[in-house]
Symmetry: C2
Subunit: 195 residues, 2 copies
C-alpha cells in the first residue's frame, strides 16, 4: 500500500519534469514510463489516465499555492491590506506563471477544458480564504457587516475575474493590469454610493 503511494509520487515527478520542459501535449505516456524504466501499461495501475496525472500534478502545486494564500490570510496586517495583497499575489503569480512558462499554461488549459469541476473547486477554495479575511474585517469593524459571507466572497471573485485570467482578454501588459487592479480594489472598498 505504501509502496503504491511511493510509485505514484515517482510517476508524478517524472511526468512533472516532462510537463515543465516539453508541455502537456508533447509528453507521452511511454516517455514517462521509459523515464521510470517501466511499461506504459503499468502506469495505468497507478493513474486511470494521462489527464489524471496532470490533475495530480496540479494538485501537488496547490499545496504551495495554498500555503502562500494562507500566509497572506493569516498574516497580522489589517484585513483591508490582506484583501488587497491577496488579489495582487494572485495576479502576479498567474501572470508570471503563464508569461514565463508557456508550457504550464498549456497544462492549465487542458485541465480547465476537460475537467471544469476541478477549476470550480479551486475557485471555491479561494472563496474560503476570501471569506476568512472578510470575517476578520467585519469583526474588527473595517468592513461593513454582511449576512452571507460566502456570497460576498463570490461577488468579489466576479468583480476581480479579469485579473485571474488576464490572458483571455488579450491583456498582456502587467503594468496596466496592476493599475487596473488597484483602481478596482479602491472602487470595491469605497463603493459607488454616497456615504
Amino acid at each position: 500500500m505504501d509502496d503504491k503511494a511511493e510509485t505514484r509520487d515517482r510517476i508524478l515527478e517524472a511526468a512533472g519534469r516532462r510537463f515543465d520542459h516539453y508541455g502537456y501535449n508533447k509528453t507521452t505516456m511511454s516517455e514517462i514510463a521509459a523515464d521510470l524504466k517501466m511499461s506504459t501499461g503499468n502506469l495505468y495501475r497507478f493513474y486511470p489516465s494521462k489527464l489524471d496525472i496532470a490533475e495530480a500534478f496540479a494538485r501537488a502545486h496547490e499545496v504551495e499555492e495554498d500555503a502562500i494564500m494562507e500566509g497572506i490570510v493569516d498574516s497580522d496586517s489589517p484585513a483591508e491590506v490582506r484583501m488587497r495583497e491577496f488579489h495582487r499575489t494572485v495576479l502576479e503569480r498567474t501572470f508570471n506563471m503563464i508569461d514565463q512558462n508557456k508550457k504550464l499554461f498549456e497544462l492549465a488549459q487542458a485541465i480547465t477544458q476537460e475537467r471544469p469541476a476541478y477549476s470550480n473547486r479551486r475557485l471555491a477554495v479561494e472563496r474560503v480564504y476570501l471569506a476568512k479575511i472578510l470575517k476578520d474585517g467585519i469583526e474588527d469593524g473595517t468592513f461593513a457587516p454582511c449576512d452571507n459571507l460566502d456570497e460576498l466572497a463570490e461577488m468579489i471573485q466576479c468583480a476581480t475575474m479579469k485579473f485571474r485570467f488576464p490572458q483571455l482578454y488579450n491583456c498582456f501588459r502587467i503594468d496596466m493590469l496592476r493599475r487596473e487592479l488597484e483602481g478596482t480594489m479602491d472602487l470595491l472598498y469605497r463603493g459607488l454610493l454616497k456615504r
Copy 2:
C-alpha cells in the same frame, strides 16, 4: 461619389446576409461578388479587405447598439437604476447574440483577434455612456463625488468584465450570470468598507 456609397451599402448587405447564415469564415469574397453580380476584384475598389467588410458590418450594428445604450442613459430613471439596467442589457444582449447565433460570435472573434484597436474603441465608447450616468448620479447626490469620471468608468468596466464576455469562462448559464451580476452590482454600490 454618392454612387460609391450606395455600392458600399449593397456590399455590406450581401456580406451581412452571408455572415449571418454561414459565418465569417465560410463566406468567400467571390460569393459576395457573385451575389451582387460583380467581380471579386471590384469588391476591392470599395473595401480594402474582407476584414474591413466585417468591421463595417459590425459598425452598422453599432448604431443600433448605441441607440439602445443611449436610450438607457437618457431615460428618466434615477442614475442608480440606469447603471444597473445598462449592465443588465449588455449581458443579455451579448449572451443572446452568441447563444442564438453562433455565426456572429465567429465574426466578433475574428474582429477582436485581428483588430484589437476596434474592440478597445468600442469599450471606450461604453465608458462615455457610463461616465454620463455617473455624472448624473454624482450631481444629484446619489453617487459619491469623484475627481476622475473616466477612470471610475474604467474601473467599473474592469469589475464587470465577466459579464461582457461570459462565454470566455465556460459560463453558459444565463440564470447564474444574472444572479452574479445583481450581486456584483450590489457590492459595487455599497462598497466593502463600513460606513
